[in-house]
Every structure is written in structure tokens, then in C-alpha cells.
């Protein structure tokens, strides 16, 4: 079932594909970090693949396995037109936890990437608003890292400005509208 997806990606990015694992029809493709943005763009734009839907972006901390690199970022893609799925993974080292953003490919990855940053401390280069999304402004550390103590809390005294959670240009648009309303 997943052969044509694997073959398509191998043909287009033979040098960038580190490994393609077909586990009972569930395809996982490991891609080199510097080419992952190209692969994701191709996954959406290619007529044969047409993965229009990025279902989730998440990460894995392989601390207990003691492997290098320590992290992996994972994209779960789904094609609404062919009904196919693929999982794209890329290794991310601990000393340079940065990956290219996919917001320009799927707008929906905006908050997913902020969640990955918040939970794992992996930054997404080119993201319009790379800041925490689930934890609060006084939080320190990244709680889903395996070396974060599970019950270490950071208290918050003043409510977070939830309007500030939006992307800057969105915030400006809303503030402009409010200003116009007030001046009328």
C-alpha cells in the first residue's frame, strides 16, 4: 500500500532519505535535517503524493536509548485525496535543537511547532511566533524532556496575556480593528 509513497520519496530525495521503514503498511521515512523542509514541501506539492493535511507535529526524546542524536521531530501527514498516510522523522542533536519551520507549507503547523518548542525545547527556524504555547510565561525548562523532573512546577502570579499568544501580525490586525471601533 505504502510502496508508491516510499518509491516517490526515494526517487525524489534518494540522498536525503536516511531510512524508509514500512511496518505493516505504516510508512516511516527518516530524512536528513537539512533537507526536511524540501521533503515536506514535496509531500504536499507533488501531484502523486498530495499530502494536503499535516495531522500533527511532535518530537521524541531518546535519552534512555543513549543514542546520538538525542531528539527526533515527527510529522504525521495524511492525504485527503488518496487516503494515504506517511510519517516523516528527522534526527535533531541536543546541542543544536533547530529545525526548519513548515508553517509556509501547512499553516496548521504553527501551534504544533510551538508545542514542540514548549515541551522539548526544539526551535523551528522561520516560525512567525516561536514561543511557549501550553505552559506559562514564568515556566522554565521543557517538561517532556526525559531529564525534566515530572513534578517540578513553576508558579504563576499574574495571568498570562492570552491575546499575546497570537502571531504578531494577527494581534496587530485585531488591535487595529479595536482602535477603529473606539475612534468611531
Amino acid at each position: 500500500m505504502a510502496e508508491f509513497v516510499r518509491d516517490n520519496l526515494l526517487n525524489a530525495f534518494g540522498d536525503a532519505v536516511l531510512e524508509a521503514i514500512d511496518e505493516r503498511g505504516d510508512l516511516t521515512v527518516w530524512v536528513a535535517r537539512d533537507r526536511v523542509h524540501d521533503v515536506l514541501t514535496h509531500c504536499k506539492a507533488d501531484a502523486e503524493l498530495s499530502f494536503e493535511f499535516c495531522m500533527d507535529v511532535t518530537a521524541v526524546d531518546y535519552l534512555a536509548l543513549e543514542v546520538e542524536p538525542r531528539f527526533a521531530v515527527v510529522w504525521h501527514l495524511y492525504s485527503l485525496s488518496t487516503g494515504k498516510r506517511v510519517r516523516i522523522k528527522t534526527p535533531v542533536p541536543e546541542d543544536d535543537p533547530v529545525v526548519d519551520t513548515a508553517v509556509d507549507v501547512w499553516k496548521s503547523t504553527d501551534w504544533f511547532e510551538r508545542e514542540v518548542y514548549d515541551m522539548f525545547g526544539i526551535r523551528f527556524e522561520g516560525h512567525p511566533n516561536m514561543k511557549r504555547i501550553l505552559t506559562h510565561q514564568d515556566f522554565r525548562g521543557h517538561p517532556l524532556r526525559k531529564d525534566y523532573p515530572a513534578d517540578l512546577r513553576w508558579k504563576l502570579a499574574v495571568p498570562d496575556d492570552l491575546v499575546d499568544e497570537m502571531a504578531p501580525e494577527e494581534l496587530e490586525r485585531i488591535r487595529g480593528r479595536a482602535r477603529r471601533r473606539l475612534s468611531d
Binding site: 501550553l134 505552559t135 506559562h136 515556566f139 517538561p143 525534566y148 523532573p149 515530572a150 513534578d151 517540578l152 512546577r153 513553576w154 508558579k155 504563576l156 502570579a157 499574574v158 495571568p159 498570562d160
Partner: protein, 196 residues
């Protein structure tokens, strides 16, 4: 009800008992203290403010709906403004990000005010012994009654409300008032005027 403890039936009934056959109850008067009447009235008309964040709030909904009918306890007027309510029911998990909001809403309530912590999440963090959950809302607000359960049954919450009513009728200070009094005792030099 607490009022009846003070019921005094005067031996010299002032009515025309000799001519009209009325029951004792109908022609009796009783004396009491204003404080007692006020406490009795307060206990019988609690205005709940639901701070519902999780499944406990669903149970709360059934408590105020027709089957369990909290109106029987005089507490059916659910308000979503803290300024119009005196019993906050924290129903659900409260995370650290939310805790200043909970405190703000609590502070907006007029006194006297009471807090019921519904369910184990609100009472102790429940099974969320984790980086993001308040380990019991008494870290933030003074709690009068803790209702255990995950979530508590509607009967459980009703029992908690009845316990609170008993406490109010006995004339006990709310947890908030008790904490304030403790503070005044410990720091008499502060001379801060605290209502209630």
C-alpha cells in the same frame, strides 16, 4: 434547623386560647438572635458560582438539573458572575497557568463567601502529580469543604453542600474569615481592616 433550638414557647400564650381551638404551633412565638436568623437565611440561599474545568463540572450540571435538583437546598441560582454569588464550586483540574485567574475570580466575590473543592483534582491535584497542575486549590484560595471522588457523585456534592450549610448555620467563620482572624492575631501591629 438551627433556629428551632432556640424555640421558646411562652407559657402565657397571648392569643385567645380560651375561645378558639388552635394548635400550639399556630399561636406560638419564638425568640432568637438576629445572627441566627441571618445564618439560617444564608445557609438556605447559597448562590453557587461554578468554576468548572473538567468532568466534575458535568456532574455539577446534573446536580443543578431536575433529577438531583439543588433547588431543594436553596442553592439553584447558579451565577456566572462572581459578584452575584457567595459559594464557589471549583469543579475540575486547575493548572498553574489558570491559578491566577481562579484567585482573581475568588477575590471578586463579595463576602461572606465559601469555597467547595469538588473532586480530587481540585482537592489535591488528583492523579496529576505533574509539572502543570496545582496540587490542591488551597494553595490559592481558602477551602471550606472538600468533596472526594473522581468525579464525585451528585449525591457526594449535595452532601458537601449540606455540610457547608451546617457549618454556616452553626455560625462558624468561613475558612477565609478564619485565616484572616489568625493573621490578625499573629500580626496585631498590621491593624489592617478586613471585612467579615
Amino acid at each position: 434547623m438551627g433556629l428551632k433550638d432556640d424555640l421558646v414557647r411562652p407559657s402565657d400564650a397571648t392569643s385567645d386560647a380560651g375561645t378558639v381551638d388552635v394548635t400550639d404551633e399556630a399561636r406560638s412565638v419564638f425568640t432568637t438572635k438576629l445572627e441566627k436568623v441571618v445564618n439560617w437565611a444564608r445557609a438556605g440561599s447559597l448562590w453557587p458560582l461554578p468554576f468548572g474545568t473538567a468532568c466534575c463540572a458535568i456532574e455539577f450540571m446534573s446536580v443543578v438539573s431536575s433529577h438531583y435538583d439543588l433547588a431543594r437546598f436553596g442553592a439553584e441560582v447558579v451565577r456566572f458572575s462572581p459578584r452575584q454569588s457567595d459559594m464557589m464550586i471549583v469543579a475540575g483540574t486547575v493548572v498553574d497557568k489558570q491559578s491566577p485567574i481562579l484567585k482573581l475570580i475568588y477575590e471578586q466575590m463579595c463576602e461572606p463567601k465559601w469555597v467547595i473543592s469538588m473532586g480530587v483534582c481540585a482537592s489535591s491535584g488528583g492523579f496529576y502529580r505533574a509539572y502543570h497542575v496545582v496540587q490542591g486549590i488551597d494553595e490559592i484560595v481558602p477551602v471550606d469543604v472538600y468533596v472526594p471522588g473522581c468525579p464525585p457523585t451528585p449525591e457526594g456534592l449535595i452532601y458537601g453542600i449540606m455540610k457547608l450549610q451546617e457549618k454556616i448555620e452553626r455560625g462558624e467563620p468561613s475558612r477565609y474569615q478564619a485565616i484572616q482572624a489568625e493573621r490578625r492575631r499573629a500580626h496585631p501591629e498590621e491593624r489592617r481592616v478586613v471585612a467579615g
